[in-house]
């Protein structure tokens, strides 16, 4: 065989990685996720039952008795928030440890980059894997919601894509930060405790945002969780709000997704090129 040299050889050597590289990375990550799938499956099935029962049934007796929401049952009100929160939790998890590990504890990204995979492909692959985890998570959640009769409207099935969108928007922005971390000094725990949990608690999840004083409501406005939850409520039981606001609920998480995605690609590529 005649040996190829120069650009001709390059074309011969790497057409597949160029085209499918992102999928190879995703496959790698999904294989990684598979090693703890039992834990994930158990959480994915167990936690919707527990949360819907505790809040949608137990706590609901208090709220409904007091007619706290003026007509809307608390179960129907809280369920959309719970599915969106579950997606956010899973997405943040998949966007922190795998990226932190890939650069620091077990630097597999450097290995992937030594193989013919680019920083953009590595980023895409991780995000594809996040999607792959969110899809069953939200699907199961939705099915459990149905068993609790928590979704009056047939449009409620859109809760699934809405939850995934919200989860991705949150996760991708977290990823764009985590990929800059040089040394793990507990940043994931910090994000969890000072960002995820406060947003979970103050984004109109358990009570309408309007219950909070106006000077705290901005937390909801910047939180993708609030936008996702509100959108979810609109499709789930026809919560009433102005049309332009519904549009914002779609556009804002989308914008965050694009920002987080591009930003992570840039950071990862720059870091691997160093």
């Amino acid at each position: 065989m005649t040996a190829l040299v120069g650009p001709a050889a390059a074309n011969f050597a790497a057409p597949k990685p160029r085209r499918y590289g992102s999928w190879y990375v995703a496959e790698h990550r999904i294989r990684g996720i598979r090693s703890y799938y039992k834990t994930l499956l158990f959480t994915a099935i167990g936690s919707p039952f527990m949360y819907l029962f505790a809040l949608g049934v137990g706590l609901a007796t208090l709220v409904d008795k007091n007619n706290g929401l003026g007509g809307t049952s608390y179960l129907v009100f809280v369920a959309p928030a719970l599915i969106v929160s579950a997606a956010v939790t899973a997405a943040v998890q998949e966007c922190t440890y795998p990226i932190l590990t890939g650069f620091t504890w077990n630097p597999i990204f450097l290995g992937m980059n030594a193989a013919p995979l680019s920083g953009n492909q590595i980023t895409n692959g991780i995000f594809i894997a996040v999607l792959a985890r969110l899809l069953p998570t939200t699907l199961i959640y939705y099915l459990v919601m149905l068993t609790f009769s928590a979704v009056p409207s047939p449009l409620g099935v859109l809760d699934i894509p809405i939850a995934i969108l919200t989860g991705m928007s949150f996760g991708l922005v977290v990823a764009s930060y985590i990929s800059t971390v040089e040394k793990d000094v507990g940043q994931p725990a910090f994000i969890q405790r000072f960002i995820v949990i406060p947003l979970f608690l103050f984004s109109g999840t358990f009570f309408p945002l309007a219950q909070m004083p106006i000077y705290l409501q901005w937390i909801g406005w910047i939180s993708p969780l609030w936008h996702g939850t509100q959108l979810s409520r609109v499709v789930s039981y026809g919560a009433v709000e102005p049309g332009w606001l519904t549009l914002v609920h779609v556009l804002y998480p989308l914008g965050l997704c694009i920002f987080g995605w591009r930003r992570t690609q840039i950071v990862v590529t720059r870091r691997l090129n160093k």
Binding site: F53, A54, L55, G58, L62, G186, A189, R193, P198, F202
Partner: protein, 280 residues
């Protein structure tokens, strides 16, 4: 601060002949383990340490105030109506005692056992496994006491301590934390991977959600009530709630007894496991 200030002065201990039994496990020198722990906190990430205090406070502000407006007032076990914030605040205190103790006795202990090999180094000295266990539990309780005091101050500021007996919530929280820590350590000794440590959360989550934390037990049918009353967190929540709301009852002695039994049982269990793990 220098190392010198961290340790209390001690006399050098002279080894005395001992024969097997508990003596092979315990050298009476837990304070060296405690001293090490205090010195090591200097290298910890302070933001993470502080976050342990903020987590229950966030919950209290969100649920107690935001959700409280929807709920109105709630009756305690003794029938006393209290505001929703005053109802969940003691529960959050008990939950944070449980979480802190479990975190320290599972994740932390697992890491030091399997990864940093810290205990291996300690046990090559005249220390025994029980010195290490007691020292670590003491440190966990110390942290718990600091967080609990902070949370009680927040409750005081928000006017959620309805009786002077709220002060007694601090020893109550320590009792709860001691119970969970001593049992948690024994359970950790069976664990081989971080994934297994993760399973601990599956036990904690339902306890957290269902133990009369966010609404009274009376919303459940009788059968479910019995199950929940068998679990430790319910006893912890009821004990602390009785103290902060001042709704005292004789049942609280039962809650205390529950934790005393849990502590004694947990320590015996842990000691056995440590012997199997480190001296086999």
């Amino acid at each position: 601060m220098t190392a010198t200030e961290t340790f209390a002065p001690t006399r050098p201990t002279r080894p005395t002949p001992r024969t097997g039994g508990i003596r092979a496990l315990y050298a009476g020198n837990s304070r060296a383990v405690i001293g090490r722990g205090l010195l090591a906190t200097r290298s910890s990430n302070w933001l993470i340490v502080v976050s342990g205090f903020f987590e229950p406070v966030f919950y209290l502000l969100s649920l107690g105030i935001g959700l409280g407006a929807l709920v109105g007032s709630v009756s305690t076990t003794t029938g006393q109506p209290v505001s929703y914030a005053a109802f969940i605040a003691p529960a959050l205190l008990a939950v944070s005692a449980m979480n802190g103790a479990i975190y320290d006795s599972t994740w932390n202990v697992f890491f030091k056992m399997q990864y940093s090999k810290l205990y291996e180094g300690m046990l090559a000295t005249s220390l025994g496994p029980l010195d290490v266990a007691l020292g670590e539990i003491f440190l966990a309780l110390l942290r718990g006491a600091v967080y609990a005091t902070g949370f009680l101050i927040v409750m005081q500021v928000l006017g959620l301590n309805l009786s002077w007996t709220a002060v007694l919530a601090i020893p109550a929280v320590l009792l709860i934390a001691f119970g969970f820590a001593s049992l948690g350590m024994a359970i950790t000794s069976y664990m081989k991977s971080f994934q297994q440590v993760d399973w601990v959360n599956f036990v904690l989550l339902p306890m957290f959600l269902f133990s009369a934390t966010f609404y009274p037990l009376s919303v459940y049918p009788q059968g479910i009530q019995f199950v929940i009353q068998a679990l430790p967190l319910w006893h912890g929540v009821e004990l602390v709630r009785g103290l902060t709301t001042g709704a005292l009852s004789i049942a609280m002695l039962g809650h205390v007894l529950y934790f005393v039994v849990m502590i004694v049982g947990g320590l015996i269990f842990t000691t056995r496991r440590l012997r199997a793990l480190f001296l086999d």
